[in-house]
């Protein structure tokens, strides 16, 4: 499905089974030992953020993030916004959501955080194609080429940090 949607690398929740290539596993806590898979440590609440290990913070309330993040989070952390949350909103709230994305992107650029737009999919049917991501980014005044390039570079730095055991 990712291939059809023109997505090169997919991030999915780690459920103990390591499957195919081009997958990065999303985990809640940094593993104590070396792993045979690439992973990103994802935190859903700003209070639970770990300064040393968190790679991605899922943004639900942008205002709270803006007020608190500078004090507690290190630079180059990824701030993730999910499309699945917006999907359930009505028109006016989606309008606000687009504006929040635009502001969050500016905030990330100014403070050296990585902006991440994610589908937040729980099933294949909730996935979003690469071309649709591009259109959403354009509406938010974000250049898709720049966004994908920054994201690839950020992921590359995360890969370099991780040490795998070849499975």
């Amino acid at each position: 499905m990712a291939q059809i949607s023109e997505i090169d690398v997919v991030g999915i929740d780690y459920a103990g089974i390591i499957s195919i290539d081009n997958i990065i596993y999303r985990i809640n806590r940094k593993p104590d030992e070396l792993t045979s898979y690439p992973y990103l440590v994802v935190c859903k609440k700003i209070e639970e953020i770990s300064i040393s290990s968190t790679d991605i913070l899922v943004v639900e309330d942008f205002k709270r993030i803006e007020d608190n993040l500078k004090r507690i989070a290190r630079k180059r952390i990824g701030l993730e916004v999910t499309i699945s949350r917006a999907r359930k909103q009505n028109g006016p709230n989606i309008g606000k959501w687009f504006n929040q994305i635009r502001n969050l992107y500016k905030f990330c650029k100014l403070n050296d955080y990585q902006f991440i737009l994610s589908s937040g999919a729980n099933s294949e049917l909730e996935m979003v194609s690469g071309r649709s991501f591009d259109s959403i980014l354009k509406i938010c005044d974000i250049k898709p080429e720049q966004y994908w390039r920054d994201l690839a570079e950020w992921l590359e730095t995360k890969y370099q940090r991780m040490v795998f055991v070849n499975a």
Partner: protein, 110 residues
Amino acid sequence: MLKRRAKRRYLAILHSVHPYDNIRDELSILNSITKRNSELFGHISTELSSIRLIRSEQKNIIIISCLLQHIDNILPTIALIDPPLVTIVISGTLKKLRRHIQKILDNVYL
């Protein structure tokens, strides 16, 4: 003066098959797209997009077309519909779109 037809794009959209009705009515999906598009971009933009339903042979895929200049409004609209829909192929001609869908169906189980 040259009379040129406006360019269109054809989109194949994957949707869930309802367990009881067997198929989610294609028209209701089209209506949900136009309704959401009106909510997000306004009625004028929706009308100018000229969204059309084209019959598809696959029961979990619908094909729609819209004007090329409005594709960047239609794609986010589809991505922001609940229950979810996925745009799987975009093409400039119906023939190429159908060929592409067939290729996908031959390679993966949808």
